[in-house]
């Protein structure tokens, strides 16, 4: 089976190489059979990569320790669930996962466009095949990146090395897959943009054809980042969820530029403006997805996420360079054709607020990139490699983030084309009142933390603004149709999925930021050593040591201490943090226990214990509002899904516009 897998990967190299060339030959010579053959190569690539993936999965499930990858990341005692997730636990498997997603997406794109975008498609296939070729070459060119490489000596061992305990968490099963779907998803609009540049069909058809792909990629990138944060929170034991680690930053940057892209394409759709900017944004977003993959494999920057001892960095760097040179060169060669009739009806309009939103999002991306690269720049200039960690990002990103919150609130309130003073007054009054009420309440309650005050005030402002938009729309619809409130609300959203899906995403962003503000600004903690019957407290919360148990499992020793948790004397339940010791890996690990509600998390971690005396070193953290971070992520995801639900009116508009642009091009 391993031979079949490796052969399938070699075939993937050949098929993708053919897929790069055949459609281009067909498009350039006008020979349809080459184009059709190129399209079929997409399905063939999908088939061979799926076969290779099945082969690896089979090796994992059957614990075939003659395969080095299987030996490295699984063991006999690993549960079925985590054995499956070991597919992407290492460098080679994660690259195969990328190639798998890429080839499936490519096949779907070809199928979706079997009757439309016929002029763009050969180039789209060729671009996506180039990316597939790069990954399939990496998977076959060296032993370290070949998932089917045999163990040294070729003799299968009785047991494997086992999965890193850090990865034995549902979050780590979901996080890489969703992140990769997001990364690869952005390759689709990128490929269409390149196709549009090559064929000189520079209207908005490429944007409209890939809108769903873009939103899907954005949703998955959002989910990937949030699930990654959740995993860090429940697994790493330090009570936080975002450490501004270079690799976390690497997945945050394409999210920022992708979000900017999602907004700015609306201007092109409506006003036929920002054509160059949109192409720049999608080039940036896609390049940043490769940059993230490069960071984890280059060893250029220290990170807890890096894959150890990988020599693939230079290849990723070269590929990034190739993407940038090719796409920017193509862009510059088409600048004349991309000239828009850039006109705005007024200085203050929804269009100009979108430009401000793009400035902030791209500015945030630049700040993060600057922080990631500054250690290298500093070392080159001064000879000293400084660290750029959370204190830097917290200080620099906080004010920019607050401006983004304000823009998030104000954008939907400004009319398209021209905002009048009366219009602004009408739309801004109630949200401003909402924000002010929140500010006064918080001040009266004694809050004096300046950033938190601004953040919560802006949150109230934005939430009032968005909820009023929903309320107004529902009320108008109810008046028009006589429907009850629930039905009027649902049909309002159903008939304007894109608009209200977008507003829902904004609500999610604000809920997430409320969680961030609460948990960063007001956390409290204490560490103590306790024995049975003793208590410790943090604020009004108290834990009391109830019992201790220690037992051995085949792969580890487990120590668990159970505490009673009370708040001002009121019983809340028990918390039972665990500390484990993995024999094979000679590695201790903690599993925290969290008592959570909408107001706060009581986060308990067992730092150490004595099996003889039962004495336990315990850390207790109270993190306010963390639950809203996860709720915000869920709301953002729901909003994104609503925005891409099938819309008949949108489909009709798209078809009409496509026909129009095809006619124009023919003229």
């Amino acid at each position: 089976m391993n031979q079949i897998g490796y052969t399938a990967l070699l075939l993937a190299v050949l098929v993708s190489l053919y897929g790069v060339v055949a459609p281009i030959v067909g498009a350039r010579t006008g020979r349809r059979e080459w184009i059709v053959s190129g399209e079929r190569s997409a399905y063939a690539l999908c088939a061979v990569v799926v076969l290779a993936s099945i082969a690896l999965m089979y090796a994992l499930i059957t614990h075939d320790y003659s395969v080095e990858y299987v030996w490295s990341y699984t063991s006999n005692d690993l549960s079925w669930f985590y054995t499956v997730s070991a597919f992407w636990a290492g460098n080679a498997g994660s690259m195969l996962l990328w190639l798998l997603i890429q080839s499936v997406f490519l096949a779907v794109v070809v199928y979706q466009n079997r009757r439309r975008n016929r002029e763009l498609l050969p180039y789209v296939i060729s671009v996506l095949m180039t990316i597939a070729l790069f990954f399939s070459l990496l998977l076959t060119m060296s032993r370290g990146s070949n998932p089917f490489a045999s163990v040294p000596g070729g003799v299968a061992l009785a047991n494997g090395n086992g999965l890193n305990p850090m990865l034995e968490n549902p979050g780590m099963v979901i996080h890489p897959v969703t992140l990769y779907i997001g990364y690869v998803g952005f390759a689709i609009p990128f490929a269409f943009a390149m196709g549009a540049l090559i064929t000189k069909r520079l209207g908005d058809v490429w944007i409209r054809s890939t809108r769903r792909w873009t939103v899907v990629a954005w949703i998955f990138l959002t989910v990937g980042n949030i699930v990654g944060a959740w995993w860090a929170y429940v697994t790493l034991g330090w009570g936080g969820y975002w450490a501004w680690d270079p690799v976390e930053n690497a997945s945050f940057m394409p999210w920022l530029t992708g979000t900017a892209f999602l907004h700015s394409v609306m201007i092109q759709e409506k006003k036929d403006m920002l054509k160059v900017w949109n192409i720049v944004l999608i080039i940036l977003t896609f390049t940043l997805t490769i940059f993230g993959t490069f960071l984890t494999r280059s060893g250029i920057i220290s990170s807890v996420h890096s894959f150890g001892q990988s020599s693939l960095g230079p290849f990723f760097l070269g590929f990034m360079g190739l993407i940038l040179v090719f796409s920017l060169n193509l862009l510059f060669s088409r600048l004349d054709l991309l000239k828009s009739r850039n006109e705005l009806d007024s200085f203050v309009s929804r269009e100009s607020s979108f430009l401000l939103n793009n400035l902030i999002l791209v500015g945030m991306c630049f700040t993060v990139l600057w922080g990631v690269l500054f250690p290298i720049i500093s070392e080159a200039v001064t000879g000293n490699k400084v660290t750029v960690g959370p204190p830097f990002f917290d200080q620099v990103m906080r004010p920019i983030g607050l401006v983004l919150m304000f823009v998030t609130g104000i954008c939907p309130l400004i009319a398209w084309r021209r905002a009048t003073l009366a219009n602004l007054r009408k739309n801004l009054t109630y949200p401003a009142v909402g924000g002010l009420v929140a500010l006064v309440v918080l001040l009266v309650l004694g809050m004096r933390h300046v950033y938190a005050l601004i953040s919560f005030t802006l949150s109230a402002f934005v939430l009032t603004a968005v909820l009023l938009e929903f309320a107004r729309g529902t009320w108008v619809r109810r008046e028009m149709t006589g429907e009850n409130v629930a039905r009027a609300f649902l049909s309002l959203v159903w008939r304007n999925k894109r608009r209200y899906g977008g507003y829902t995403v904004h609500v999610g962003v604000i809920l997430l930021l409320i969680g961030v503000t609460g948990s960063y600004g007001f956390k409290s903690e204490a560490t103590e050593t306790l024995t049975k019957g003793e208590s410790m407290s943090v604020g009004t919360y108290e834990i009391t040591y109830d019992s201790f148990e220690s037992f051995d499992l085949p792969e580890k020793t487990v120590g668990r201490v159970t505490f009673t948790l009370t708040d001002n004397g009121t019983y809340l339940g028990t918390v039972a943090p665990v500390k484990e010791y993995y024999f094979a890996k000679d590695q201790p690990w903690t599993r925290v226990d969290v008592n959570s509600n909408l107001g706060r998390d009581v986060y308990v971690s067992l730092l150490d214990y004595s099996a003889e005396t039962g004495e336990a070193n315990v850390e207790v953290r109270v993190n306010p509002l963390v639950a809203w971070l996860w709720i915000g992520g869920i709301v953002m995801t729901i909003g994104g899904i609503v925005a891409i639900l099938p819309d008949r009116r949108e489909t009709r508009r798209m078809a009409a516009r496509y026909e129009r642009q095809v006619r124009l091009h023919e003229i």
Binding site: M166, D245, W370, N496, L598
Partner: protein, 160 residues
């Protein structure tokens, strides 16, 4: 239903109390450990080192806690570690010399971007005014009828 609303209100009230009360609560160890990078090779901030048996981080955290309990100045403790390990032990660049570039550049870039966007919007909106004025010249396109203007507005709304 009523009980879940009550539970929600109770938890929100607790949160308000937490947010206002704990604002003043000190975070003794993290006041220092948030500013230092763990030297075990994990590249994480000392507070966030994921290694539960960290040979450098755990003694350092204990030392910091002891020193703070004994009344040591947090900045002096940070400087102690800088003297021991150099500036690379700091979790953020200092605000001196070349490192100032780290702090200033993002804001400079944003200001430059803001100025560019300001002039861009100004230029685009004045171009519109110029073309609107041009519409009144002989031979220019006639005014858009009010009915079409309204239809355009409706269609733009649909695009949201």
């Amino acid at each position: 239903m009523r009980s879940s609303v009550a539970a929600l209100l109770a938890s929100l009230l607790t949160t308000f109390v937490l947010l206002t009360a704990s604002a003043a609560a000190a975070l003794p160890m993290s006041v220092v450990s948030d500013k230092l990078v763990c030297q075990c090779g994990c590249a994480a901030v000392l507070t966030e080192c994921p290694h539960t048996d960290c040979g450098w981080g755990i003694p350092a955290k204990q030392y910091i806690t002891q020193q703070l309990d004994a009344g040591a100045d947090p900045d002096a403790l940070v400087q102690y570690y800088v003297a021991e390990h150099g500036e690379q032990v700091l979790a953020a660049p200092t605000k001196r010399g070349f490192n100032i570039a780290a702090w200033v550049t993002p804001f400079v870039a944003l200001v430059i971007g803001a100025v560019a966007v300001y002039y861009l919007i100004g230029g685009w909106s004045s171009r519109r005014e110029a073309s609107a004025t041009g519409a009144e010249l002989p031979g220019a396109a006639p005014d858009v009828p009010e009915q079409l203007e309204r239809r355009l507005e409706d269609e733009l709304k649909d695009f949201d």
